[in-house]
């Protein structure tokens, strides 16, 4: 073992970042798509939890974790579609609806999830990327899940589509200026409805990762604010899917500090390090809310930024 304790901690943080970042990435990509169309979905925390529960339940009953991932996506789209539909009604506040959907999604998940806390469902496999190093710790750290690769591919596809396709243009225009989109004959409500539904699908898949890979079981404390942090992460990433991926890794690494230090016996301040991602999010929000770059990149119709 070369390097001693600092090396072990760094490797553990790297491995943790790779493991923890995927749900952030999916939720952030979903939120990015929704916000690009000019609407905010604060309910993705509920979507994440419901996705985790449905993935676990379907995987348990069918024996196929990938069917679970699909089910999680469908459950997420259902919540997204509900959000999208309700926000279309006049005089309805999308931030308040988000809070309500957060409670509602968590409520459904906990209600039906009670039966699945005990049993063990088949989990997703992983890809060994680090076997060539010959270092067992690095090899463990570099175990990654296929969903992470899917997430990165989705991010690249979204980034390309926003810039180069007609659909991307329509979504961006609905987000930047609803009147001009309407003048083009685009139904802004429909675009936002579809973007929220698709965003819900991605967030649901992020939930599937939580219950089927890491931490890899279903319980009520599975997600504690990841869905919400991802919303802040999108602001930090300035609505760019590629930057969302990078930001997700940063968040994953921050979340991994506590467990990594614990693995080498440093337990002092464990709760402080547990809170590190929230504190980081808050600081990032303080820093990015006032920045002129964020002011330039923000979709014009978005209500969440002043």
């Amino acid at each position: 073992m070369s390097g001693g304790t600092p090396f072990i901690v760094l490797v553990a943080i790297l491995g943790g970042a790779l493991r923890v970042s995927t749900p952030f990435m999916f939720v952030a990509l979903g939120e990015c798509l929704t916000e690009k169309s000019g609407r905010v979905n604060l309910g993705l925390e509920g979507t994440l939890v419901l996705g985790a529960m449905s993935a676990y339940a379907v995987s348990y009953h069918t024996g196929s974790p990938w069917l679970g991932v699909l089910a999680a996506g469908c459950a997420g789209s259902a919540l997204g579609a509900m959000h999208g539909f309700i926000c279309k009604l006049p005089r309805v506040n999308d931030v308040a609806i988000g809070i309500a959907m957060m409670l509602f999604g968590t409520g459904i998940a906990f209600f039906f999830g009670k039966a699945y806390i005990q049993p063990t469902a088949p989990r997703l496999g992983s890809i060994m990327l680090g076997d060539w190093t010959g270092n067992p710790q690095l090899a463990t750290a570099l175990q990654i899940n296929p969903l992470m690769i899917v997430g990165i591919l989705v991010a690249i596809a979204m980034w390309w589509a926003f810039a180069n396709t007609r659909w991307g243009l329509i979504v961006r225009m609905s987000g930047d200026s609803a009147p001009s989109a309407m003048a083009m004959g685009v139904s802004v409500d429909l675009v936002r409805f579809l973007a929220t539904t698709a965003g819900g699908f991605l967030a649901g898949v992020g939930g599937a990762f939580l219950s089927l890979y890491y931490p890899g079981s279903w319980n009520q404390g599975l997600s504690s604010g990841q869905g919400l942090m991802a919303v802040a992460l999108v602001i930090f990433a300035r609505w760019n899917p590629l930057r969302c991926v990078a930001a997700a890794f940063l968040f994953g690494a921050t979340g991994a500090i506590g467990p990594a230090l614990q693995s080498v016996g440093i337990t002092q301040g464990y709760y402080f390090f547990n809170a590190a991602p929230y504190i980081l999010t808050l600081f990032i929000m303080i820093a990015s809310a006032g920045s002129s770059k964020a002011g330039r990149d923000v979709p014009g119709e978005l209500s969440i930024i002043k």
Binding site: R91, L103, G107, G113, A275, Y278, L282
Partner: protein, 373 residues
């Protein structure tokens, strides 16, 4: 001369009657639509219960019995309504100034923790009444700081208050866990990490003749005081103007930043006091049980009451009853404990959908005949 003054009298009587009619119609709308939303969500929940093969009749009977059926259950309900009034106010006051703040849970937990922590060195050295007073002040001040911080960040840095308050909730719970499992842990209690108990002699008493603690009385008094503050004072008027249109308020020269920080701090005081009462009247110590979800239910309470402090008292009692009957429902109907959470989430969604109904019903419409109202 006499004719003219007679005309003025008739006109003012007419104006008065019209004003009353407008106010009545408006309040009728504000009461009827939330009631309709409540009925709708009860119906939807009944359909859901039928779909999973449970009896909705039994469910609502159990809510009625477990929440309001006996003298004991009514007192249990009021016991739970007390923190809900306070956390409801913690959402309502910022809402009046146009902010959606959902950090009541964090301010409750930290406020409760602060009051438990400050009591530790005072126990056995200082008599109970001053100790409780110091505890209440510590709880309220911590809450004010916590929520006021989110208000200040909102105004001075443009940080979205909904996200920041929820983040601060997670941070607040982590801070409490850090101390409760670390330096302030009561080592004589191996079961659950807690601070040292404040002891029976230092617990705040019950309202005489009842089994309900003083938090209910304080909650009701605060609700009435805040209703007066928001509707009958210059401060409340300025706050409501800011809530209606912040830019117009700035143009009028109103101190928007100060108004926001004061309103959010008031919200924090309410939530922090809820935490103080949970510690001083129920738990006797600070531990993870403080994060029981009162802060989140308070959001729904405030929205259902349309952010009206007086209405919050009644809605809080209703939801106190639903929360109180949760255990009975769980046992008798074999439903998971998340049933109440699901019902709350459903009610919240239906309630927000009902917002779209305002101004759509002919019966509530005020006939203006082209005149200024």
């Amino acid at each position: 001369m006499t004719e003219a003054s007679g005309f003025v009298e008739v006109a003012s009587a007419e104006t008065f009657r019209r004003d009353m009619s407008i106010r009545l119609r408006r309040s009728a709308e504000y009461i009827c639509i939330p009631l309709l939303a409540l009925t709708m969500s009860a119906l939807l929940f009944s359909v859901f219960l039928l779909a999973i093969g449970k009896s909705p009749v039994e469910f609502f009977q159990l809510v009625a019995r477990g929440g309001f059926g006996t003298a004991f259950s009514i007192q249990n309900t009021l016991q739970r309504a007390a923190p809900l009034i306070l956390t409801g106010l913690a959402v309502a006051i910022p809402a009046r100034i146009g902010l959606i703040m959902i950090g009541g849970e964090g301010a409750l937990v930290l406020g409760g923790f602060a009051s438990a922590a400050i009591a530790i060195p005072m126990i056995d050295h200082v008599p109970p009444i001053p100790t409780l007073l110091v505890m209440a002040i510590a709880g309220a001040a911590t809450g004010a700081l916590w929520v006021g911080l989110a208000g200040a960040l909102r105004h001075y840095r443009g940080v979205n208050e909904t996200i920041s308050t929820l983040l601060l909730t997670y941070i607040g719970i982590a801070i409490m866990n850090f101390f409760v499992e670390g330096s302030l842990r009561d080592l004589t209690n191996p079961n659950k990490p807690s601070t040292k108990p404040i002891g029976d002699a230092y617990m705040i008493g019950k309202i005489p003749g009842t089994d309900v603690h003083w938090g209910l009385a304080i909650g009701i008094v605060l609700a009435i005081a805040l209703q007066i503050l928001m509707t009958r004072t210059t401060f409340g008027f300025a706050a409501r103007v800011t809530g209606g249109n912040a830019r117009a308020a700035l143009a009028q020269g109103l101190p928007v930043g100060r108004l926001i920080v004061i309103c959010t701090s008031i919200a924090g005081v309410c939530a922090g006091l809820a935490g103080f009462f949970e510690v001083a009247a129920i738990q006797g110590r600070a531990n993870a049980s403080l994060a029981a979800g009162y802060g989140f239910t308070g959001i729904l309470v405030s929205f259902l009451a349309r952010h009206n402090p007086i209405a919050i008292i009644f809605v809080a009692i209703l939801f106190g009853g639903i929360v109180a009957s949760g255990g009975l429902i769980q046992r008798r109907m074999d439903l998971p404990d998340a049933t109440v959470l699901l019902l709350q989430g459903l009610t919240f969604v239906v309630l927000l959908v009902s917002e779209t109904l305002y101004g759509r019903f002919e019966i509530f419409k005020v006939k203006t005949n082209g005149e200024r109202t």
